[in-house]
């Protein structure tokens, strides 16, 4: 399998200027023989993975097995040691750092394990910051609507540090969905959530996938999410 190393502007994603291009018919995400490591030492290997639009997949494995590293490598935030990654036909590794960041901002929604909401900003501002960072117009109506979908309409003006963990998780999800990404990567989205919040977040992820057509890759060791996904890949660390 091979991927094009062409510049982003030639691919079927949004180009680096933010224009939406016609999506190709191929998979949203393709991974082949991916090896990720630190300091020259391989820590995790993913032989193959294909993910189409509106398709979800669980990346399971115990803590420390390298699931987060795989997501970071797929998103282009970490350089893989070996293997190929294709997102909408583009290998992020072939892009210059600034282009890679912009490509990620426009095409990938990332839900971090630590949420990383910015304290001092409101929930609404934390959603809008995705557009601000990517340098595209900030659609307040869409951000407000997303928060409403997450059941957070009343909390839009509340500062991040005043939100509960479950509320913050939903804000992080809304932020990831703001720009209508083709691929959503979620790292332990239900970790430390109670059953009720886990159910809510799981449902929202599933809805994001079905309603927006985004491909969804969720790294988790939370068994409560398994019933929502038809496919899963187990990851085992190499050390």
């Amino acid at each position: 399998m091979s991927f094009t190393s062409a510049k982003v502007r030639d691919c079927a994603a949004r180009d680096v200027r933010g224009s939406r291009l016609v999506s190709g018919a191929g998979p949203v995400l393709e991974v082949s023989e991916l090896v990720v490591g630190y300091g020259g030492r391989a820590v995790v290997r993913l032989p193959a993975l294909n993910l189409s639009a509106a398709e979800g997949l669980l990346l399971t494995g115990p803590s420390g097995s390298g699931k987060t590293s795989l997501l970071l490598a797929i998103s282009g935030m970490m350089q893989p040691m070996a293997g190929l990654i294709g997102i909408l036909g583009v290998d992020p590794a072939t892009l210059k750092p600034a282009e890679r960041d912009r490509f990620r901002g426009l095409n990938i929604g990332f839900v971090f394990q630590n949420l990383n909401l910015i304290a001092g900003l409101t929930a609404l501002e934390n959603v809008l910051i995705g557009a601000f960072a990517a340098g595209v117009p900030q659609d307040r109506e869409r951000a407000t609507a997303l928060l409403a979908e997450m059941g957070l309409a009343a909390f839009a003006g509340r500062r991040a540090e005043a939100l509960s963990r479950g509320q913050a998780q939903r804000v992080a999800l809304a932020r990831a969905m703001l720009l209508g990404p083709k691929l959503i990567l979620a790292d332990e989205p239900t970790a430390s959530l109670d059953d009720q919040n886990c159910e809510v977040v799981g449902a929202l992820l599933a809805r994001a996938m079905s309603e927006t057509g985004a491909a969804l890759l969720v790294a988790t060791h939370d068994r409560r999410l398994r019933e929502r996904f038809a496919r899963s890949v187990s990851v085992e660390g190499m050390s």
């Binding site: 970071l72 970490m78 750092p97 960041d101 990332f110 910015i118 001092g120």
Partner: protein, 394 residues
């Protein structure tokens, strides 16, 4: 969402740190700025008090003391000179303007100066109330002196011997206030003026029966002279020096000496201010580096969401500039408070300062503080620009 909003969120999260760094920067800025302003205020005051006088003729002694006592009114005179000698030089062809001054008494610490109404011309003084004196024992008060003594035209007061309060009272020869001058922001504001013959009259009366009669010819403390031409500067001082008991004192020279003497201390303080400023810049740098370290996750998050590295650069430098702006503005405020304190203390000791109005110097100081903030922000900003988001978020 904007850069400013994001910077504000960062600042608001740790307001104590922000205030500490602003205060540190402002202290350095205020000391440097305060001293420069003080120097200007002193120069302005000297220039007003010297009133274009080219030469002061006084009794033998320190020329600096002659200037300080007869012109700036902050020291005791070196002695008196004969009126005849003063009149001789007043009529000299190279002299355009001359006015005698005679010191020796005060009223509640305010100096009484025996002179001619022409003394007011030196300072461009004009009457706010009443009229100039027309006979001995009539007095015209400077604006501050009138306020301080609570006197107005029609009132009377008793002079005391000496230049400071608490001397022997000349109860037999009361003064009558006939006029009050408008403020001029110069030394005349703090004086009580009277005719020169009043001083002779007061001192011709024996307060003590054992005191000998005043037998000598009339004297004055000094003669303030303006030259008709530059030749005066060459001819007159040697002529004065050749006279027994007379001392020429050139205000420009003596004040320049005084400024140099004061300047040593001022320069030492300026250096302290500059060191403070550099220290605060260093502290600023450490603070910004630590601030960037603290929020490297947020900065990495922005990169993860597609932010161009240049955006992070702008974000961190803007924070530095905002700190610099706040520090600079507070520095200007503190420098004004410092100057006000010095001016108040100076007024108590008879040295009135006129702080200059807010102007380009303050704008320059704020601009420099902002530039310092920018400079201090550059290393951490570059660090943020080249950060690896994957490593920070892993």
């Amino acid at each position: 969402m904007s850069l400013v909003r994001l910077v504000w969120a960062f600042i608001r999260r740790r307001p104590g740190n922000f205030l500490f760094h602003v205060l540190t920067l402002s202290l350095g800025a205020s000391v440097v700025l305060g001293l420069v302003l003080l120097e200007r205020a002193v120069e302005t005051r000297f220039s007003r008090d010297l009133a274009g006088v080219d030469l002061v003729i006084g009794a033998k002694g320190s020329p600096m003391q002659v200037i300080l006592s007869a012109l700036l009114e902050v020291d005791t005179p070196t002695g008196n000179i004969p009126l005849s000698a003063a009149e001789h030089f007043a009529q000299h062809p190279l002299v355009k303007f001359a006015v005698p001054v005679s010191l020796g008494d005060n009223v509640r610490g305010v100096r009484i100066v025996g002179t001619r109404p022409a003394y007011g011309e030196l300072y461009g003084a004009h009457l706010a109330q009443g009229a100039w004196w027309t006979r001995p024992m009539e007095a015209v008060l400077g604006a501050d002196a009138a306020r301080r003594l609570g006197l107005r035209p029609g009132d009377s007061f008793i002079g005391e011997h000496g230049l400071t309060a608490g001397g022997e009272r000349h109860a037999k020869t009361p003064y009558h206030v006939v006029g009050v001058l408008a403020a001029t922001a110069s030394v005349i504001d703090e004086l009580v003026l009277t005719d020169i013959s009043s001083v002779w009259e007061v001192h011709s009366h024996k307060n003590d029966p054992d005191e000998p009669e005043n037998p000598g010819p009339p004297q004055v403390t000094a003669l303030l002279v303006k030259y008709r031409s530059a030749m005066g500067a060459i001819i007159l001082p040697p002529e004065v020096r050749a006279m027994p008991d007379l001392q020429p004192a050139v205000p420009a020279v003596e004040v320049a000496r005084l400024v140099v003497m004061l300047g040593v201390g001022a320069r030492a303080l300026e250096w302290i201010g500059i060191v403070l400023l550099l220290l605060s810049a260093g502290g600023f740098l450490v603070a910004l580096i630590s601030a960037v370290s603290e929020r490297r996750q947020e900065l990495a998050l922005l990169r993860a969401m597609g932010a161009h590295p240049g955006l992070l650069l702008r974000l961190v430098t803007l924070e530095g500039v905002v700190l610099g702006l706040a520090g600079g503005v507070l520095g200007v405020v503190l420098s004004r408070i410092l100057l006000w304190g010095i001016a108040t203390a100076g007024r108590e000791s008879g040295m009135r300062l006129a702080p200059p109005p807010l102007g380009t110097l303050e704008l320059l100081a704020v601009g420099l503080a902002m530039a310092l903030g920018l400079l201090a922000a550059l290393p951490p900003a570059l660090r943020a620009r080249f950060m690896d988001p994957g490593r920070e978020l892993a």
